[in-house]
């Protein structure tokens, strides 16, 4: 394992651990202000975590190890994704390539852990959330992988760091039609995957429309805390990935202190901007009916597919 990559991975994990709750706080605050509310402040997610960690954990009798281990798996998968994705710097491990297929699978492990937690308590709501969650995850998968395919074509590799580095070298490629199509598709997939509007409403209190909230309805105390942190880490990692692909500048190309500092600062900026944009957009959209979501996802799949075929045709024309 090479030292530079290891140091960068540690930096990324620590930064994301600190920043992703703040990102969620920022998004909630933005939304509150736009809706004319005062808001709880950017630090509220951290206060929530502290409160949950101190509370007693109640589990439904009859639940097994899945309810205990599931939240930890979700957090671990989020952290591993943060370590692999080029957020602060694009210096991959020699033995663990930051292959996008691998990153997607790592996140899927967390998805499955969450779905199983939802089923474990044996209540109708948990099952409902789990079922909807997995349906959406299944339908998002084609979009994500085909978008990855589109991004990998110009580079000839699905390794994220190589894609990001190629974008730094050739800034024009970011704005190429192929790249934009793929990024829009990926963005829709990220919105669906992280349970934001219009796919799922993260602040809903109406049980029948819940997806994520229904799955964690039986969890309490530290279990709930880990589940929340895990989902926030996923949101942070995926938004950070979008940021690195959309605005690759600032991503450190080596593990030097100055480069890493620049990387951290730009990452925080990118996350803040993307978070604010996403939160602002959420003010203006309503949640889609569950059975309209596949249409949205089919649309994003078409975009990704167009990106792939276009990238072959564009090269041919050129």
């Amino acid at each position: 394992m090479n030292g530079g990559a290891a140091a960068l991975a540690v930096v990324q994990v620590v930064v994301m651990l600190v920043v992703s709750p703040l990102l969620v706080g920022l998004m909630r605050q933005t939304r509150a202000r736009l809706e004319g509310r005062v808001g709880a402040g950017v630090l509220q997610p951290w206060r929530d975590l502290r409160k949950l960690a101190a509370k007693e954990t109640l589990r439904a009798s009859g639940t097994g190890w899945v309810s205990a281990a599931g939240p930890l798996v979700l957090v671990a998968s989020g952290l591993l994704a943060c370590a692999l994705v080029p957020l602060v710097g694009a210096v991959p491990f020699v033995s663990v390539p930051d292959d996008l297929f691998v990153v997607v699978s790592v996140l899927l492990v967390g998805t499955v852990a969450l779905a199983l937690v939802g089923l474990d308590a044996g209540t109708a709501f948990g099952g409902m959330g789990s079922s909807r969650h997995m349906t959406i995850a299944a339908l998002v998968e084609p979009t994500v992988l085909v978008a990855v395919y589109a991004l990998s074509i110009p580079v000839g590799s699905s390794a994220l760091s190589r894609i990001v580095l190629a974008r730094i070298d050739d800034p024009a490629s970011v704005a190429s039609p192929v790249s934009l199509l793929a990024l829009v598709a990926l963005a829709i997939a990220v919105v669906a995957e992280t349970g934001r509007l219009p796919v799922d409403n993260p602040s809903t209190h109406l049980e029948l429309t819940m997806i994520h909230e229904a799955m964690v309805i039986e969890s309490s105390g530290r279990d709930l805390g880990w589940l929340e942190l895990g989902s926030w880490l996923r949101l942070g990692a995926l938004l950070g990935l979008l940021g690195s692909l959309l605005v690759p500048w600032g991503v450190a190309q080596d593990a030097g202190v100055a480069a890493v500092l620049v990387g951290v600062v730009t990452l925080v900026l990118k996350l803040a901007v993307l978070g604010c944009v996403l939160a602002a957009a959420e003010v203006f959209v309503a949640k889609l009916r569950l059975f309209r979501v596949p249409e949205l996802l089919a649309g994003s799949f078409v975009l990704a597919f167009l990106a792939v075929t276009a990238s072959y045709l564009v090269v041919q024309a050129g």
């Binding site: 439904a60 199983l116 308590a121 590799s157 072959y312």
Partner: protein
């Protein structure tokens, strides 16, 4: 005598010994003796396969009393690989069967048929000419039909399943026979060596290709010839379903690989497209049906169709890319087919044996009535969970490695100048992605509904773990799933080199490197990294748990109160409901809503009845009309036979006249 020849002889002797033991031994001892014999037969097959795979030579010629060429057994490295798969699966299933068999599956005929089945399956890849191949194939087909029929006295549906199976498997035999006949006529000989000299561009070769692929696809459970799979697997005893699904359908894949790698290596582009089309349709259709299935074994059967579809997709991509001269990705794609075979064998054995344990404990295959088994059957739950992770292609199982390699070969295969490939490959990637997503949902459902939550019926509440042999077999196969996922490199490299492909080498500890497409994966390092990030989380949790341990309460929040009965939980049917709505057009469920109003009121409802039935669309649309047509022809033909001896004499007279006229022409 070479080692391979000893191995082949050993299989014949062990099979004979097992059959005699099964017939002669006292019922009390039969399971143990015949089980050990069948397991030894499987081990002998696996060892012979390893010898053939590592370059061992051997040729066994068995003269027959019939006026045909003698049976020649001489496994190639490719055949050796499939012998390993068949032997290993057979051995594990035989050990499992020692504890599992009861009632009709413990009978002498069932054990004898199992040994014959294993022998036939292990000899198919050893055959060196078409006649031996077909003999071994028929041995495998006939013995497995007997095994499917095992419980025909207990359950009526078994008879119909066996009939479907027998018809489809003989249709497959017939197509393969025709295909080999065409090739033998063109190549002037029935040996595979002679057949490989035919002209690949000729029309007869293409005809042979189509016939052979159709025949092998029928055996492999490819859509639309898959209809026997979801019937035969639930009908057969579970250890037999495991062997059929994890090993026997692979013989269809072996057949296709035999055709495209050895007999007709210079494939045409459209051959690849045919295989790709079969593969994509089967993968999506299979997993879609699996995701809405509620019968656990039926679900696994459809998932087999999906996995075999992925193998066909990989082979098809390999043929297509090779015909376009894209050598690196083509070799990776073909090698990936072998990886998929090994990984599917491992996880599907685990899953079917796990389903067998559930059946053994509860007598149920219906997921809607299971639940909460994780507490009562920890070994089964853990191993089934590992198998489910493999089937869902999640790290760090073998399924993940295989699917990752498949995606890598697909995304690197297309070049801008090959327009056809540039359109086909994205579709293939999308199909693989959709199947991966749906497989995830399917196996979360299968595991979550069966093993988590609360029992949905009385049977699940009193379940218990099976005897030790069953648990040992489950653990062995689950270890294979994780082992092939953690250190796939050694096996994969050895196998692809042996069968004359390149493109895969060892990376890192024992990971997979694909130099042809510039990608690499080391699952051990990935696991290490995951553990590193998980350790702090674990430490923090442990400290929090020590300070404030968790407390179980009856239904923590209840999601609606403590009055809920376990039947109010989500079931497998309700879990798949959103999906079956999304794919309404493909699945075409039959829904029936009946509302009885209270008195004259339009608003007060007395009773609402909702019925939903999901049937296999292909079966309903294609097979039911075909069967009806055959029935009608049969009824019409019956009019010829009215029992009158005069009429029969008249028939013979007319026939005689007709023959005379034909001869005189």
């Amino acid at each position: 005598m070479t080692q391979v020849e000893v191995g082949l002889w050993a299989q014949l002797v062990l099979a004979l010994a097992t059959v005699s033991v099964a017939v002669l031994a006292r019922p009390a001892l039969r399971a143990r003796l015949a089980g050990v014999g069948a397991a030894a037969l499987g081990v002998a097959g696996a060892v012979t396969g390893v010898l053939a795979l590592t370059g061992g030579q051997g040729r066994l010629v068995i003269p027959l009393a019939l006026p045909v060429d003698p049976v020649v057994l001489s496994p190639t490295p490719l055949g050796g690989f499939f012998m390993v798969v068949a032997g290993a699966v057979g051995a594990v299933a035989a050990v499992y069967a020692i504890g599992y068999v009861h009632g009709p599956s413990a009978s002498a005929s069932s054990w004898a048929a199992l040994a014959t089945f294993l022998l036939g399956m292990q000899l198919v890849p050893a055959a060196a000419d078409a006649v031996s191949f077909l003999l071994a194939w028929e041995l495998m087909a006939a013995a497995s039909t007997v095994l499917v029929l095992t419980e025909h006295r207990e359950r009526l549906e078994v008879r119909s399943a066996a009939l479907w199976y027998a018809v489809m498997t003989h249709l497959s035999f017939l197509l393969i026979l025709l295909g080999f006949a065409v090739l033998a006529a063109a190549g002037h000989g029935t040996s595979f060596a002679a057949m490989s000299h035919v002209d690949p561009a000729s029309a007869s070769t293409s005809l042979a290709f189509v016939l052979l692929v159709l025949g092998f696809a029928t055996k492999a459970g490819i859509v639309p010839m898959h209809v026997w799979l979801p019937r035969a697997h639930p009908a057969a005893p579970s250890h037999v379903s495991a062997v059929m699904s994890a090993a026997m359908v692979k013989m269809g894949v072996y057949g296709v690989l035999l055709v495209v790698l050895q007999l007709l290596p210079a494939g045409r582009p459209w051959w690849g497209l045919v295989l790709l089309a079969f593969g994509t349709v089967s993968a999506v259709y299979g997993i879609l049906q699996a995701s809405v299935a509620t019968d656990l074994k039926r679900l696994l059967a459809y998932s087999t169709t999906e996995n075999v579809g992925l193998m066909f997709l990989a082979i098809g991509a390999g043929v297509l890319l090779r015909s376009y001269g894209v050598v690196g990705p083509a070799e990776v794609a073909a090698g990936t087919a072998l990886l998929l075979v090994a990984s599917h064998a491992a996880f599907k054995t685990t899953l079917f044996l796990g389903a067998g344990s559930v059946l053994h404990a509860t007598g149920l295959r219906d997921l809607d009535r299971l639940g909460g088994l994780g507490k009562r059957m920890p070994t089964t739950a853990a191993t089934f969970g590992v198998g489910a992770l493999g089937a869902a292609a999640l790290p760090i199982t073998c399924g993940f490695v295989a699917e990752w390699a498949l995606l890598q070969s697909l995304i690197h295969g297309a070049r801008p100048e090959d327009r056809l490939v540039a359109v086909v490959m994205p579709v293939a990637v999308a199909v693989v992605a959709l199947t991966a997503g749906l497989a995830l949902m399917t196996f979360v459902k299968a595991y979550g509904i069966a093993f988590l939550a609360r029992p949905r019926g009385p049977e699940a509440g009193t379940a218990h773990e099976g005897p030790a042999t069953m648990r040992v077999a489950l653990v062995v196969s689950a270890v294979a799933v994780v082992g092939l996922g953690l250190v796939p490199g050694i096996m994969a490299t050895a196998v692809v080199r042996a069968v004359g492909l390149g493109g895969i080498d060892v990376f890192g500890v024992a990971g997979l490197g694909l130099p042809g497409v510039g990608a690499a994966l080391d699952p051990v390092a990935l696991t290490g990294l995951a553990l590193l990030v998980a350790i702090p989380v674990l430490v923090v949790t442990w400290r929090m748990a020590r300070r404030r341990p968790s407390r179980p309460v009856d239904l923590a929040w209840g999601g609606g109160g403590v009055r809920v009965s376990p039947r109010m939980q989500y079931t497998a049917t309700s879990y798949a409901e959103p999906l079956s709505r999304v794919f309404d057009d493909a699945l075409r469920p039959e829904r029936d809503l009946e509302i009885t109003h209270a008195g004259e009121s339009r608003y007060l409802v007395e009773r609402v009845q909702f019925r939903q039935q999901l049937e296999d669309v292909v079966e309903v649309r294609a097979y039911v009309p075909a069967v009806r047509l055959v029935d009608r022809v049969g009824l019409a033909a019956r009019r010829l036979q009215n029992g009158s001896i005069h009429r029969y004499l008249a028939y013979s007279f007319v026939a005689l006249i007709a023959v005379l006229i034909v001869v005189s022409l």
